[in-house]
Symmetry: C3
Amino acid sequence: MLRFLPREEKFFSLFSELADNIVKAAELLKEIVVNQIDAEITARSIKKLEHINDHLTHEIVNKLNKTFITPFDREDIYLLSMKLDDVIDYIESAASLIVIYKIKTFTNEIQSLADIIVKSAKQVQAGIMELHQIHHVLPICIEINRLENEADAVFRQGLAKLFEGTVDTINIIKLKDLYDDMELATDRCEDVANILETIAVKNQ
Amino acid sequence: MLRFLPREEKFFSLFSELADNIVKAAELLKEIVVNQIDAEITARSIKKLEHINDHLTHEIVNKLNKTFITPFDREDIYLLSMKLDDVIDYIESAASLIVIYKIKTFTNEIQSLADIIVKSAKQVQAGIMELHQIHHVLPICIEINRLENEADAVFRQGLAKLFEGTVDTINIIKLKDLYDDMELATDRCEDVANILETIAVKNQ
Amino acid sequence: MLRFLPREEKFFSLFSELADNIVKAAELLKEIVVNQIDAEITARSIKKLEHINDHLTHEIVNKLNKTFITPFDREDIYLLSMKLDDVIDYIESAASLIVIYKIKTFTNEIQSLADIIVKSAKQVQAGIMELHQIHHVLPICIEINRLENEADAVFRQGLAKLFEGTVDTINIIKLKDLYDDMELATDRCEDVANILETIAVKNQ
């Protein structure tokens, strides 16, 4: 079993911070689409979290390039930070689309997707916390995969409804973009799960 | 020249299975758009093939993480399985769009793209079979690249026709999405060809 | 400090050629949207530059697979050539969309994006020239990041304007695609900057 040595602490705490901010951003997005809190102000808060993560990611990659011995395989640390970055980018992009497109009414599918994104983000956070316990990581990865399948089904149902004749073309275009970004956020969580599993299996 | 040792057989047979299922999925997609067989039932069959490939890919990655000596460079095996996964994902996504969007009329360009996808998938299958014979792999990679260029030309022609004034806006949106997924399936075949070439050149 | 040995010269000159062609392609795209020079003829010239880069990239990857000692980490050379390829692909795709969609009027945002793409391409070119001087590379990477943020803001402003009511639906669809490709070209320049930084930091 893998034991964290002192020099590894820093990587670990940087990844935890990244995951914490992803959960916060996901919860803010859910606030916009479920509780209808002010989209413009909230999207700015999400943008700030995304910027903080950009800096943290930069710190991880720099540290990685300067560190001879790393707690996990170098390429897995690199991939993990890139994919965590993608997750928050899609959350931020979804929030910003709501502002740019002035979307005021949120379909059941948008609300469900926001909920699934929060759940996936929390699983990602848990996965990073439990990275040294392989028998804890694997069920988390399975759950993230299940959530991605659920998001895909919701996405496809939402897409089908858009074309049933009640939505005007301009709103079809807007909502399709929003569905896309939200579904991609859960897709990238699945990518994160795959890397977490790889790290856990290699270090078991 | 590379010789397959017993321990390598398993990787090889898993990749063959992945490629076989990609060919089957591509042929089913062509059945939908050329022979107009029931899209809903056929899309479900393609979905099943995609699920099987998900499990096979998972098996490859797990095996990879637990195997000390691999037949090819570890990162090439990883990349190859990821890109093969992308190919069937786009084929499945195209089939599901036909169902979700209730597309009943298939343009010449959609039929041509389906045909090119089948041809590319068969070349991918051949490339994996011939992986140990570099002088067989290279012409296959060249052919996959040629097919991707052909798909790109068909895609652009189809896109131009959509905007000639005879297609209504809703159908432009639907068909553009379908063209996109089909063109991306051939793009990912080209990515597979690049990795096959890398493996072949490294092991010559 | 890293010194280029004779055997490294070839990689270096291939990367310089790639970057030179990206700058040329970006300048041609700007000519189309700012100076309204013939789109069809110019898009063909861009396509030719893209083809040349395909061959150069192929040469780099082949050389990489056959070379035992490389000037930088093998995976960084590979990633750098892939991402440089993506940059010119998006420039070419933007130019070809202008032809396919018969776009004749270019918004301020399209003109700004073209200008930012030229600036980013020139920074990429400079970054590759200065790869052995880490204190020169880092400010270049920071500038490419700044340009990507600028492009993102222009992109979002352009998107918002599309939906203000004065643009018809067909043109919304067309211009959204063009904005997408142009924004993605600057995104890929940022990916290039990240790899340049990685190479510079590792070799300092």
